[in-house]
Symmetry: C3
Subunit: 243 residues, 3 copies
């Protein structure tokens, strides 16, 4: 199974062009259009979101992850193996949290290049073909550079990120904090307010911001039948505090 995780949005032809490459080069392998509105041009918050989503990936998953503001410049293309799952994309920290939370991990630099490589769309021209190689097991000998890949960004990032990663269309705010990392009795502080926990929307106080453990294990701030983004005046990138 191949997963697509990008900041391309679903507008335009970009996700479809990647899917066409995968359908041609990895026929019969399901391709999951997982999320195309990852934090735009922001590998760091995107890394926390991807790591949360990846906990549900099956063992043989290959993920094409593209949040790549440096496309066409010097950042290396990489494959990160994390407990058997393979992540293909830019070596800019996007896979740092996936790797850090795995028991076994390996990062390799992709040295293979396609016959035609556009300057701006490595997702289609480089990462999707490599994902197809990995998913089908048809891997050229020289796919990876022989030297170990070291010094990628992200080594100094925290284990959990006290930031808003994502706001959905209803105004719910996903953070980079794993719910399992804090006690249920711990309130959050953000937007000048103290935010208590509730198990679920239906048990929270009407019109009042609360936090809950969302379905991918992250702390999410919401307002029953309302918009937490509007109620708290928060946007993606804003900081939240604990306690």
């Amino acid at each position: 199974m191949i997963f697509l995780f990008t900041d391309f949005t679903r507008d335009g032809p970009y996700v479809g062009q990647m899917q066409a490459v995968l359908a041609a080069e990895a026929p019969g392998i399901p391709v999951i259009d997982l999320m195309q509105d990852a934090p735009a041009h922001a590998p760091k918050p995107a890394a926390y979101l991807l790591a949360a989503l990846a906990t549900a990936f099956p063992e043989n998953a290959v993920c094409v992850g593209v949040v790549d503001p440096g496309v066409g410049t010097e950042r290396p293309p990489v494959v990160v193996e994390a407990d058997g799952r393979r992540f293909v994309g830019p070596g800019n920290g996007l896979f740092e949290l996936v790797a850090r939370r795995a028991a076994t991990t390996r990062t390799q630099r992709i040295q293979w290049r396609p016959d035609t490589l556009s300057a701006s769309f490595h997702g289609r021209d480089l990462f999707a073909p490599v994902a197809a190689m990995l998913a089908t097991g048809s891997v050229p000998d020289d796919l990876f550079a022989p030297d170990p890949m070291e010094g990628l960004p992200g080594a100094d990032w925290p284990d959990d990120l006290s930031e808003i990663l994502y706001a959905d269309g209803f105004g719910n705010l996903m953070t980079g904090l794993r719910a399992a990392s804090i006690a249920e009795s711990t309130p959050l502080r953000a937007g000048g307010k103290t935010i208590p926990r509730a198990r679920i929307f239906g048990e929270a106080t009407p019109d009042t911001p609360f936090w809950y453990a969302n379905s991918c294990g992250l702390i999410e701030i919401a307002v029953p039948s309302g918009s937490a983004a509007a109620a708290l005046g928060l946007v993606v990138g804003d900081t939240i505090k604990l306690g």
Copy 2:
């Protein structure tokens, strides 16, 4: 064939996460991303929309329908069979019109539970796995509760709904009225105007609201090369009148 009909929107990872479950648990069965912007948190109008779309479902279709403001609370999870098609989702009236318009129907309460059930995402954790069971025919003995399911919401809803169900991005307004339920000569009244019928955009009066039988059999209000929503000042949930 498995259909997905939700109010999740296509933003975020939610539809993709459901598709990953279905790809893993019902391999080889096509999954159709039918509509993810059903009336938000509103099972009643969504029920009329789903019933209109479902007239085109093939006989062996399984539909995961999730418009579920009560997720994580006491509403029962159900499977509704309607003329052989199976609908999996919350027992909140969402399948009322599908059932009412079928020659043969049966509603059963799902008592099976997955090993891990999030409080907020039964679409991924409960409904998608049950849909995969039904689509593959690999159904556990205790999937359903033995007692008949009765007393669900919706029994008192009308056969057609005189409301705007859906506004598309061009400002066309879909209603809950089946076109076959009224005479072609009947005008609508909404937004302070009388709205005549035309067969199609190209035959309607320029810049003037008209109604037509849309491609799923519902009455839809439009303006040639314009926005009916803007011209009439109507939004989803507003009432329309006949005659």
Copy 3:
């Protein structure tokens, strides 16, 4: 492989309804949701965009292309063959540039009709079934009218279109000019400014509009970390000049 290229947007049930038809009538053939936000109701600019995207189509591709403001009126439904690829949709010029740039081409009028043909959704009722026939090779004898199809719109359109075809969510502006058609040293003029070329975002001057050859070979105007649409005050349909 079947490609879908429309101006339906991904809102509503429309793309899903077409995919359901293709899954039923062309089982096992991959369907690529290529682009659903083509220039709305505008076959001419859409034709330049489709021709650029189609250069990457595999040899056996079938494309359902629907930008069809005249649906339900007299424009003929057609299949255009261009170097072996088949394009199914309205005969309104949408496939003019695809045909013009091919070495071998043929245009035929579809005379086959389904049992039920809605007035407003030929994409689902006519074009998708015909695409399934072509993709599976199961073609009825009377699919096409015997007389040659001539006189379609588009014969007088230019080889490249000096217009903005598409603005993505980041404000990048795609034009109808192929990058290979002009020298790299040629600046553009649009929005009252002179716009130089850069190879890629990372090599352009910060906060300053530049043009580059985008990943489908068209000239695209962008601003590093900014919006070219906002910086230049340009929208889809605006004219650009060379030199």
